[in-house]
Assembly symmetry: C2
C-alpha cells in the first residue's frame, strides 16, 4: 500500500488519456470522472481500472476521439450516441444535456447508447447539485448477477445514483449497486483469503455460496435482498429497470449481451444494440417549489434522520453520502492509498507510454 496525492494521480492519469489519443478536454473530463471514485473511497472504480480502459482502447472497443451526438430529442428528453467513447467522457456530456433540458422545461432525461463504463454513478448525479437540481444516473454493465430463481448471470451490478441538494447540510447522495454487495467487496475478501457472508453470491448451480472466488467459478452475484424471502425479487426488478432505461430506451445493448469490461473476454456474438447504456435525469427544484424552501426542508430532514436514536451497538445514524464525504476530506489531506498490485499495474501502464508513475 502506497499513498499518492490527488495531484500525482491526476497528472499520471491525464497523461495516459492523452497518450491514447484523447483531446486535452476529453482527457481532463475522463481524469476527473475516474478519480472521483478514488477520492470518495470507491477504489474498485477509480485508477485501479485505468489499465482496463486502455486495454479496451487497444482492442478497438474504446474510441479515444468519439463524436458524441444527440440522435433524437424532445424538449425534456434526448438519446445520445457515445460513438464508442470512454463512458468517463460520454456520461458527463449526456448529464449536461439533461441539465440543460431541465433549465428549459423543468426536467431532462437522457438515455445513452454506444458507450463504455462510466466510473461512479454518483459523480454524474452530483453534477446537478450546483444548479439546484436533483441529479440521477444509472448504467447497465456486463452480466454478473443472477435474477431471483435463476442460475444464469443476466444483469450487471447496475447502479443507481441520486443526488439531492440541501442548504446548510451537505447534499444527500445515494450511489448503490442494485446487488447485495458490490463486486469490489468480494475482491477485498479474496485478497484477505476470507469467506464472504451468505447472501452475497451463489455458485454455478444457483446454490448460495460463501466462496469469495465464486464469481470466477461461473457463480453469480445476488440482487439486493439476497433471496426471495428477503426481497431479492426487488433487487432483481431494480437492476432490470436500470438495464431497460439504459440499454433498451437508448438502442444500446442489454441483459446478458452487454459488452464485457475485461478486454480479453470476447464480445457476445449476438448484439441487440450498440454498446453499454446509461440513463441520466435532472430535475430543477424550482420546477416544483422554491429552491430555498426545499433546501431548508432537506436540512430539516437530514438533521432529524442524523439525530434518530441509534440502535443498540451503534453510535449514529448516517445520511446517504456521509461515508464518501468523510473519506474525501481524509484523502485530500492524507493522500489516496493504492494497493501494491494496482501500483505495479500502473507502473507497467506508464512504461507502455513512457510516463513515469
Amino acid at each position: 500500500m502506497t499513498h499518492f496525492s490527488f495531484e500525482q494521480l491526476y497528472q499520471f492519469t491525464h497523461k495516459i488519456f492523452l497518450s491514447i489519443g484523447c483531446s486535452d478536454e476529453h482527457a481532463t473530463t475522463a481524469t476527473k470522472t475516474l478519480l472521483s471514485a478514488d477520492i470518495r473511497g470507491i477504489d474498485s472504480h477509480g485508477v485501479a481500472r485505468l489499465s482496463g480502459y486502455v486495454r479496451l482502447w487497444e482492442v478497438d472497443r474504446v474510441n479515444a476521439n468519439p463524436q458524441i451526438k444527440i440522435v433524437h430529442e424532445t424538449p425534456s428528453t434526448a438519446v445520445v450516441d457515445g460513438d464508442a467513447g470512454l463512458g468517463l467522457v460520454v456520461a458527463p456530456f449526456a448529464m449536461q444535456v439533461a441539465i440543460d433540458k431541465a433549465k428549459d422545461v423543468g426536467t431532462g432525461w437522457v438515455s445513452v447508447c454506444n458507450s463504455n463504463h462510466f466510473g461512479i454513478a454518483g459523480y454524474h448525479a452530483m453534477m446537478a447539485l450546483q444548479h439546484d437540481m436533483i441529479g440521477m444516473a444509472m448504467t447497465n454493465a456486463s452480466a454478473l448477477v443472477a435474477p431471483t430463481f435463476a442460475k444464469e448471470r443476466m444483469l450487471g451490478t447496475n447502479p443507481i445514483a441520486v443526488a439531492i441538494p440541501a442548504n446548510k447540510q451537505p447534499a444527500f447522495v445515494a450511489d448503490m449497486a442494485t446487488t447485495t454487495a458490490a463486486n469490489g467487496k468480494l475482491e477485498i475478501l479474496q485478497r484477505k483469503n476470507e469467506d464472504i457472508p451468505l447472501g452475497w453470491a451463489q455458485d454455478k448451480d444457483g446454490i448460495a455460496s460463501t466462496d469469495a472466488n465464486i464469481i470466477k467459478k461461473q457463480g453469480a452475484l445476488l440482487p439486493l435482498g439476497s433471496d426471495r424471502e428477503h426481497g431479492a425479487h426487488k433487487g432483481y426488478a431494480l437492476g432490470s429497470i436500470v438495464d431497460i432505461f439504459s440499454g433498451i430506451l437508448s438502442g444500446g445493448s442489454y441483459g446478458p449481451w452487454v459488452p464485457p469490461f475485461p478486454a480479453y473476454v470476447p464480445m457476445p456474438e449476438y448484439q441487440p444494440g450498440k454498446g453499454l447504456g446509461h440513463f441520466f435525469g435532472a430535475m430543477r427544484i424550482d420546477a416544483f417549489r422554491p429552491a430555498d424552501d426545499f433546501k431548508q426542508h432537506m436540512d430539516n430532514w437530514i438533521e432529524r434522520f442524523r439525530n434518530a436514536e441509534p440502535a443498540e451497538g451503534y453510535d449514529k445514524v448516517l445520511i446517504p453520502g456521509d461515508p464518501e464525504r468523510e473519506m474525501e476530506i481524509i484523502r485530500m489531506k492524507e493522500g489516496i492509498p493504492i494497493v501494491d498490485s494496482v501500483v505495479d499495474d500502473l507502473k507497467k501502464l506508464g512504461e507502455k507510454f513512457s510516463i513515469n508513475f
Copy 2:
C-alpha cells in the same frame, strides 16, 4: 374465507364511497383504484382497508369532495395539492397530469401534497401503459421503518412502482415496498401464530426479531437488505428518496411526521408540510426511440429472462408483474377470497350506511 366476485365488491365499495359524499366520478375512480389491489392479490391494500378510509373521513382527515388543484407547473412538472382527498382519487388525477405533460414535452413529473393513502402504486404506474409510456409511482407513508443503525421508525414502507410496455409479452410491472417485507406479510404470519424470518423486523432497541407482532411492540420494519452487511443502507436510501420526492418536493409532510393511516392514532404535533406525498412520472417511449422498436426489444428482453436457466430447486424465472397478472386471471374467474375478519368488518361498515354486504 369467503369468495366474492369483483362485481359484488365493486357495487358495495362504490356505494360506500357515495355514502361518505364522494361524487359519482370520484367514487368510481376510488373503487377502481382500491379494488385493483384485490384483483392483483395484494390483499393488504384493497377492500380490507375500506373501513380505514371511512374512519379517516369520520375524523375529518379525508375530504370526500376535494378541489384537487395544480398549484405550480412547468412544461414537464407539476405540483398537485390533493385538498386532503382520498389518495385513491388524487393519485389518478396527478398521474393523468404526468401523462398529459409527457404527451407535450416527452416526460411528465408530478409531486403531490395534501393527499392520503393511494392504494397500490402499481395501478397508477400502469395508467401510462396504454399511451405507450413508461409509468412510475411512489408514495411516502406513516413511519414503520428504521433506517440502518437506528432504532426509531423514521420512514414508511414507501413503495416504488415502474410499469414498462412490451409488444406481444405482457408489460413489465414492478411494484415494491422499499422494505425487506411488506407489513401485510407480517400480518399473514401473525394470523397463523408463526414467527417471521430474521431480517424482516427489529425490536424497540434495534435488535433483530422473529416476533410477528414486534411492530405492535414499538419494533420496526427493516429496509430492503435487512442489515448493513446485506445492503440495508441501500433500502434505507431508496425509502428516503421516495420520501423526499413525494413529501419534500411537493410541500407535503415527510419522515416521522407523515400522517398515520389508523384514524385512532393522533396526528404528529409537528407538521412540516401538508398530508401524505406522492410522486408520479410518465415517459413517452417515442421521446427516446420509436415505440414499436422499443416494445420489440422489451419482448426480446422478457423472453430471454423468462428462459434464463432456473437455479437448483426452482421451475422458472419470473418477470416483475407475472405473479400479480396470474392472480388477476384466477380471481376474475374464481372470485376474490376475503378472510372472515375483513368480511365482518365490511358487514359492520355496510350497516353503518344501510348497505347490504
